[in-house]
């Protein structure tokens, strides 16, 4: 029953928030609820969690099953860290109807938790959609100028993907021996190779859109740019992980032969995506778009490493799921601080952050190092393992993907240079210290370096998933 709390805490708080007009109080409730979730998530790491298994739809033989293995735990931890961090860091931002905003954010959190915990395919689909609906409203109501069209594109893209996945789920359901949606029954379905390919394709499209893999990525940069920053943080830190999670949870174990038959094509697409996104990032003057494209490149590397189908690479991805979330969250918080106080997203109008706000500038540099995966930072561990697996499969692919590290250094350092150094620009002159946000950033940077120097806890946490995937 413990796992149920990850759904109940945000949902109860979200419903409560609908009735609280007072802005400050609403803020406090959201922060408290998300911190309680975080406490529960930390607690989960130290105890033995039992599976929740409740009767749900007997007619369809679908049960309400929540379970947490290492993969689920690391993503729950990431989600649980992200939400309080976002709430605290953006607490000073002005948002109309803040209680509704926070309420929808908490519904999103519940949806995400549900996706990572669901042990029944129909339930998984349910949460997969539910995480999307509040985001649709968040972006369309509070987003930037072009928000309605952009969010709509995002919504239709992902909705189409998930409907195709639904067909995949029904397809699997019909091939199970006991006509059930349970993960275990799916495993025992015993598909032939051609059937595996069909089911693989149906599931893969949904995950590829969510990650996104080139050429299905076109919804992403605009959506990141136009969403309110708090939502962008959720999207890029946690939500894109849904796609990778889906590959790890469903594609790899259920369709092993179809999976290994398609590794090359997906790896090539991912690498094209990495290079493409990196080159665009270099050209960006808009700091939010720069971070967005950089995030696409990083996710591309993770998907390439997953499809390399090697134990080291998968281990790297499992770690990187967490690390990438923390790093990108840090960068977004800094970008948001600058944008909120100066009103500009353009790098060319920035400059002199180091003189005006030295602490923030140091944090920016630190997160930038993490973004280019320098040793000692958390991203180094994951990326090293991932490149290792790419190299095992095909050195040329590893080399092509390796170029992205150089490119990442170019755009990230360019950003740091334009933003932090030089004379204090008119825009940066307006900046003042935002203590809560800085506190959050400091906590995040501690996580970056601690897991960078001593990643063993993360390895231990995800060991069971890796065993499940590769030893069997």
């Amino acid at each position: 029953m413990f796992l149920l709390s990850f759904l109940l805490i945000p949902i109860v708080a979200a419903i409560l928030l609908l009735f609280i007009q007072h802005e400050k109080r609403a803020q406090d409730i959201a922060i408290v609820a998300s911190v309680v979730s975080l406490a529960a998530a930390v607690n989960m790491l130290f105890i033995n969690v039992s599976t929740v298994d409740l009767t749900w739809l007997q007619v369809l033989n679908s049960r309400f099953v929540l379970q947490a293995d290492g993969l689920a735990k690391i993503l729950i931890l990431l989600t649980a860290i992200s939400f309080p961090a976002i709430f605290i860091a953006t607490s000073k931002n002005h948002v109309a109807q803040k209680n509704i905003f926070l309420s929808l954010m908490l519904f999103t959190q519940a949806g995400l938790m549900g996706v990572f915990l669901a042990g029944d395919a129909l339930l998984f689909y349910f949460f997969w959609e539910l995480a999307l609906i509040p985001v649709y409203f968040l972006c369309s109501i509070w987003g930037g100028e072009k928000r309605i069209a952009v969010t709509f594109k995002f919504f239709i893209y992902t909705f189409l993907g998930s409907l195709i996945m639904l067909i995949g789920i029904i397809y699997m359901y019909m091939h199970t021996k006991d006509h059930s949606f349970a993960f275990a029954s799916f495993m025992e379905a015993g598909l032939t190779n051609t059937q595996q390919v069909t089911a693989f394709a149906l599931f893969f499209i949904a995950f590829a859109i969510k990650m996104p893999i080139f050429p299905l990525h076109t919804w992403q940069p605009d959506a990141y740019d136009q969403s309110p920053t708090a939502v962008t943080m959720v999207l890029s830190a946690v939500m894109v992980k849904m796609g990778l999670y889906g590959v790890l949870r469903w594609l790899m174990p259920l369709f092993p032969s179809a999976f290994s038959a398609h590794t090359n094509i997906v790896m090539i697409l991912s690498i094209i995506g990495i290079l493409y996104a990196s080159f665009i990032a270099i050209k960006q003057d808009n700091i939010k778009k720069l971070i967005a494209y950089s995030s696409i490149a990083h996710i591309g590397l993770m998907s390439a490493a997953l499809f390399a189908n090697k134990e080291v690479g998968t281990q790297g991805v499992l770690i990187q799921l967490f690390s990438h979330g923390i790093n990108v969250l840090g960068l977004w918080i800094i970008a948001d601080l600058i944008e909120q106080q100066t009103g500009t997203k353009s790098l060319s109008e920035m400059g002199g952050l180091a003189k005006k706000q030295p602490t923030l500038a140091i944090l920016l540099v630190a997160f930038s190092f993490a973004n280019v995966a320098l040793p000692l930072t958390n991203a180094f561990v994951g990326e090293f393992l991932m490149f290792n697996s790419l190299f095992q499969v095909n050195p040329w692919m590893a080399a092509a993907a390796g170029v992205s590290v150089v490119l990442a250094a170019i755009y990230t350092l360019n950003m740091v240079q334009k933003c932090a150094y030089g004379d204090v620009s008119v825009a940066i002159q307006k900046m003042t210290t935002n203590k809560p946000a800085q506190a959050v950033l400091i906590v995040l940077i501690i996580i970056v370096f601690v897991t960078g120097v001593y990643p063993q806890p993360l390895f231990d946490l995800t060991k069971d998933t890796l065993l499940e995937l590769f030893v069997k």
Binding site: L57, L163, Y171, Y173, M174
Partner: protein
Amino acid sequence: MNAIIVSALLGVILMFCSWGLKSESLQKNIALIGLLVLIVANLAQLNGWYVIDIDTKGMLSFSSFGLYANTILFILTFLYLWINAEEIEAIGHQSADFYALFFFILCGASILTSFDNLLMLFIGIEILSIPLYILTGSDKKNLLSNEAALKYFLMGAFSTGILLLGITLCYGAIGSFRLEAPVIIPSKGMALEQYLLSAGLILIFASMNFKVSAAPFHFWTPDVYDGAPTVFTSFMATIVKAAGFIAFVSIFHAQSKALGYSWELLLTFVILATLLVGNISAVFQRSVKRMLAYSSIAQAGFMLFALYGVSDFANEGILLYAVVYSVASIGIFAVLVKMKDYGFEAFNGLSKTHPLLAFVTTIFLLSLAGIPLTGGFFAKYYMLNAILSAGAGLWVVIIAVIFAAISVYYYFKVIQAMYFIQGTPAIKELPTTYTYKLLVLAIILLVLGVFPNLLFNYLYF
């Protein structure tokens, strides 16, 4: 049997009410109580208690499925009247006339859920259709309403003729009006009969497609739905359509063997054409009412999935789909009735002035689009499951799903207008209770969205 007798009697009683009683609210209450009586009478038969126990000589047969479908249709009508009574009163002189027509329609619907003989099908369809022509033209001073009624009548009469021709050909082939006819085997020198039967069934199929507005027999739908008074459009698009589908499913589940493989091909063509026409045309509409007319064609495309093969999923699915689609459509039409004009712009800024109304409208739209947590999701789910387990190609389902994604586009345009675009909504004065009535519909959709099995628990006992 109970439902057929009681609904016909109630129709007659209400006809006299319009002559004897002057108070419209009294007429409304009589109609509502009449519906409750009808529901009770029908449930009584479900429990084996008959008002008059007649041997129908194989004309009618009462299965628990049919009786359950009756109950659902009556309850939907009750909800419909409970919400829309005031609007009905605003049209014409005596609302009791309309209530009488509703009861006659329900009488036709109860025949359609229990016929066992093609003649009874014909009679049921006629009893169902004729009041509809009147309802369509009930706004006598409105030219559009008159045009719609005439169009509907002419085309409806024509399609009924086709139905009759189809029934005749079937009779010629098998020498019986019975639904479960003996199978004709061409190898025994009965090739001509085989052709006759196929031709007959195809004609019946075409005519039934006309009744449920499936492409390519859908051309009347947008004009009629648009021209008829909005309250009556709501009734036609929901309860009448559901009854038509239940009849459609029972004929073709009984007869699908006779047509064999080519049947699936024909049906696939109709399904895809319906989805294509409905969804693509809906995207380009500027009036919400016309958009809903096309969307009802699109939804019919999904309901046709139930015809593909006989399975529990098909039977349960068509009931679930009928309920969920009807509840959501009754809701959305009830909102539309209160709008001063039917453009998308009329909804601008509704969330600011009427937050609860905007919320329930959103639930209706999400359900029509088939988003999880609303009943619409499970309705679509059952249909997808039905057609896949009946052995349809995956490509049909994938195309259907792409159209489902397209449908999000036009349903969400209303949500966008309500929530994301500033403006003052063109809405009439609302009684406060009105929104709460709609909230009941929204709650039904949400409950069915989590526990769709609640609907089926009573089906098998």
